[in-house]
């Protein structure tokens, strides 16, 4: 109901967030009129709010466009999702990157999607579509399959009922994916073969805390055939280390 934002009674906080919510990975710089359209606000209102947000440091101007400002960036980094799991995991991700030179992902489930909490990658030869703070479908990513395998049954059922094809190799048959998730729960290892991006394969393992899966750790590589056992070993050691550090916090 974005149209409701222009009615006088709409909470101003909601209008501020409508303006901020106009930005996403594909829209990082917006003119005032783009902002108004994407926020479903009258141009004058969008203009005034954007100017206020610039004065407050929430937005910054770049030529005739608005971008998310450094203050909002620094503020977002105070979110505890950063302060705890990410901080503990960071050195393990770096060890994992140093040992494998593969793109490393730390992710958690956010509703019916994977939320990427952290990512390390070199000058990648592999096409990787993830970005920190970004979301991707669970059924087409290694970390996503781990999280989906351990999600509540109602989440799993909802996701299985709507399996979007992303590449020709995305698993879109609910029965096949259900069996695969069963194996993931049993073996503690998930993989994808060009299911999210052509030319990219992934392998992932769960991170547990007090016996509960709270996140997933994954690697993206061009090819799983040669190095799978080595990648899995590295992932398992790192995931165990993160889990142990989390539990003793």
């Amino acid at each position: 109901m974005p149209g409701n934002l222009s009615r006088p009674g709409a909470s101003v906080a909601s209008r501020v967030f409508a303006v901020l919510g106009a930005f996403d990975a594909e829209h990082r710089a917006l003119t005032a009129s783009e902002l108004a359209r994407r926020a479903a606000l009258p141009l004058a209102t969008a203009h005034r709010l954007a100017a206020e947000l610039v004065a407050l440091g929430g937005l910054e101007r770049q030529d005739d466009r608005y971008v998310v400002g450094r203050r909002l960036w620094a503020l977002g980094l105070l979110a505890p999702v950063q302060a705890e799991l990410r901080q503990i995991a960071a050195p393990f991700l770096q060890d994992l990157y140093a040992a494998t030179r593969a793109t490393v992902h730390l992710a958690e489930r956010a509703g019916h999607e994977v939320l990427y909490l952290d990512r390390l990658s070199g000058r990648a030869t592999v096409p990787v579509v993830s970005r920190v703070g970004g979301r991707l479908p669970m059924h087409a990513t290694g970390v996503g399959k781990v999280l989906l395998a351990h999600a509540p049954a109602e989440v799993r059922n909802a996701v299985l009922a709507d399996l979007r094809r992303i590449t020709p190799y995305t698993v879109t048959q609910p029965g096949r994916l259900r069996a695969e998730l069963e194996r993931v729960r049993r073996n503690g290892i998930a993989q994808t073969i060009e299911e999210m991006s052509l030319g990219a394969c992934s392998v992932a393992v769960p991170i547990g805390r007090h016996g509960e899966v709270i996140a997933a750790l994954g690697l993206v590589v061009p090819d799983l055939r040669r190095h799978r056992p080595r990648l899995i070993a590295a992932l398992q050691v790192a995931a165990a280390g993160i889990g142990r550090s989390l539990s003793t916090e």
Copy 2:
């Protein structure tokens, strides 16, 4: 003038940012009354705004406290400071970490302080007080000295006029620091020896774009004596690579 926030005419965006601005690295979780006090808002207003922000995903509840929410975190990551320099620098930082196992910093100048844009560190044996999104004094950090050496004269003069002692080794004599900054400009290398934290030394180099210093790259180690030449070589190669990639963007 935080008191002004409670007057009816105060912009609601400014009240929203007063609530958000109540959070910092030392105050990541706040009760409603702490929030009201730190935001200088009446308790009822703070309560209502916090509840609205929770509904919008800007804040999240953790027991009886508020914390910065995932939506704000993801939003902040869209700030272009991330999208450009950080993205280009990331693989170089990882190479640098893999080669040195030292804490790696990418920083820019924000007013009279250093703003840490990125950081990589292992299970550090060195006490490092930086964090991504955090700020530290320029005169006591390696990256800060690089940025101070290349700052406009008025910024340098203002900083030199107010050199706070942080450890017994912090350089607090303006004349001595001025001479040191002159050498940094000449040699392209800055260092600190326990000037920010006891037990931590740093070395840093500038990152240039079209002949202008736009950021600094640094390493923090327990001891500079043995490995200084090797660390500097690694830094210079990485900084040159980042600068080259930036210039061809």
